[in-house]
């Protein structure tokens, strides 16, 4: 009698067909959720961990970020008479430890995630590309 218990009405398939048809006809709250990436971009969260940024006035060049970086990404280099971090983004794992340990809250992470590049050299972000100046911006 096993055949009696078989799903002869194919109820599950018909229910599934109704669900997919609702998606096709956009019945109810079923919007298109993807965006057309290169032309349209999604809004990133303020907590997003992207490319670093260093406050030019707050940074004291102490090197705590360099010590704490698990991959050895950060190096302190000289830039215009003062010392600032330089980030090799190709080794960075975007853990955010450098941001957490910074005693002056000078290190930040921006929402910039389009970091692909053609050479390894251009992945090294020196202070000239990382620094931002709070006063100038405001």
């Amino acid at each position: 009698m096993a055949w009696i218990t078989k799903n002869w009405g194919m109820v599950g398939i018909i229910k599934g067909l109704i669900v997919t048809m609702k998606h096709i006809l956009r019945v109810g709250n079923r919007p298109t959720v993807t965006v057309q990436y290169p032309y349209q971009k999604m809004k990133v969260s303020p907590r997003f961990r992207g490319l670093h940024a260093v406050d030019e006035d707050a940074c004291i060049g102490c090197g705590i970020c360099e010590v704490n970086c698990p991959n050895g990404t950060i190096q302190i280099v000289k830039h215009k008479t003062r010392w600032y971090p330089q980030v090799n983004i190709g080794m960075c794992l975007f853990c955010g430890l450098c941001v957490d340990v910074c005693p002056m809250n000078a290190m930040k992470m921006t929402g910039n995630y389009e970091l692909a590049d053609y050479t390894r050299e251009s992945l090294v972000y020196g202070p000239d590309r990382l620094l931002f100046n709070k006063e100038v911006k405001q």
């Binding site: 599934g16 998606h23 096709i24 993807t34």
Partner: protein, 379 residues
């Protein structure tokens, strides 16, 4: 006078060749051209030219349809999955198949080192050409048929039975275990589902008494009680469901896509193919989709016929019937795509159980009941 006769008269041609000759006569250029060839003593050349023209029109139509079916498939999947699908090339991504074709032509044509080179090259053609040959006895509209074979249905089933052999050749020649397993699964599936397919088609032939596709469509012309179209789906609901499931299994589409089950067999029998040869398998798949949907429409959904189509002026009937046929066919194709996006794949043992233990007994039962009722004289 001729125009009036065409507008009001009852003109119906056996095939597209006669329609073309009629139109050429109507414009008035058939006789002069024929006379030129006659004076040269080669009047058969004109016949050959007309046949080649109609075959060229059919194949161009088929290839364009197949190309844009890939676009339609991607769009339907995208709509179900709350995505956009192709949007960049052309309006709403309509030129995407053209770009895909250009990409595939530009790719390197790799033949594996230990493959059987001749069979490996032959197999894509053996898959692709039968898929196009199925179009020949399909009635696209009134008098729009390449050749009205009196064994049309048998021809269709026979030609579509060539493709498992070609698939097995492709899987064997690739010298790859995934290809061979995909090919063997495809053959097992095709063989077990051709039987219920043919059996439910035979039930239709019992009604019409003819294997010709034109006769099958003509038998479905007209209505019951003035509003229910005389389609065989209403006489053969079980046969329709069996035929639909069997034909989806024959196409190898998602609920039954054992030939190329991606999670298990990489890409099945065309794992090793690239470039134009891969494109041929891909196009053959969509040609199969179109032709099988067209056969479902012809057998069960009334083909090009529509209630009260005979009230139209005779000159319009071929065009309107072509439109009706295409609308019905695209509805069936849409159903296949919709089903593909809804259900997951069954297991191989479930597939064969369904084919041999359920569909074949049901098809035989359907045939028995139909034959009994016809003999008793209910229909």
């Amino acid at each position: 006078m001729l125009f009036l006769a065409m507008w009001t008269g009852d003109i119906m041609f056996a095939n597209a060749y006669e329609l073309i000759v009629f139109i050429l006569n109507f414009i008035g250029i058939y006789e002069p051209i024929n006379n030129i060839f006659k004076t040269l003593g080669i009047e058969y050349v004109l016949r050959i030219i007309i046949v080649f023209v109609e075959i060229a029109v059919l194949f161009v139509f088929a290839l364009l349809t197949i190309m844009f079916l890939t676009w339609m498939e991607r769009k339907v999947v995208a709509m179900v999955q709350a995505r956009y699908g192709p949007m960049v090339t052309g309006p709403r991504g309509l030129l995407q198949p053209v770009m895909d074709g250009v990409k595939l032509i530009g790719k390197e044509d790799i033949i594996p080192a230990k493959a059987d080179r001749w069979v490996f090259t032959l197999a894509p053609f053996l898959v692709f050409i039968p898929a196009l040959l199925i179009f020949i006895p399909l009635p696209f509209g009134e008098s729009l048929i390449i050749s009205d074979l009196n064994v049309g249905l048998l021809y269709i089933i026979a030609i579509s039975a060539v493709s498992p052999i070609a698939i097995l050749l492709a899987g064997w020649a690739s010298n790859n275990k995934y290809s061979l397993m995909g090919a063997m699964r495809a053959v097992a599936q095709d063989i077990s589902y051709t039987i219920p397919l043919a059996l439910s088609a035979i039930a239709i032939v019992l009604f019409t008494g003819s294997l010709s596709t034109v006769d099958i469509v003509t038998a479905q012309n007209g209505t019951w009680f003035g509003f229910i179209p005389k389609w065989f789906i209403f006489l053969q609901p079980l046969g329709f469901i069996l035929f639909l499931i069997a034909s989806i299994a024959e196409m190898g589409r998602i609920p039954f896509d054992f030939q190329e089950s991606e999670q298990e067999l990489v890409a099945g029998f065309f794992t090793e193919y690239s470039g134009m040869k891969f494109a041929m398998f891909f196009l053959a798949e969509y040609a199969h989709l179109f032709s099988v949907s067209a056969i479902v429409v012809t057998l069960f959904l009334g083909g090009w016929s529509f209630p009260y189509i005979s009230l139209l002026p005779a000159a319009l009937v071929p065009l309107v019937s072509l439109g009706v046929f295409l609308v019905k066919t695209y509805a069936v194709i849409f159903f296949a795509m919709w089903l593909r996006d809804t259900v997951p794949r069954v297991r191989i043992d479930q597939l064969l159980n369904l084919g041999w233990k359920i569909m074949i007994p049901l098809a035989l039962l359907n045939l028995l009941v139909t034959g009994f009722l016809l003999t008793v004289g209910v229909f």
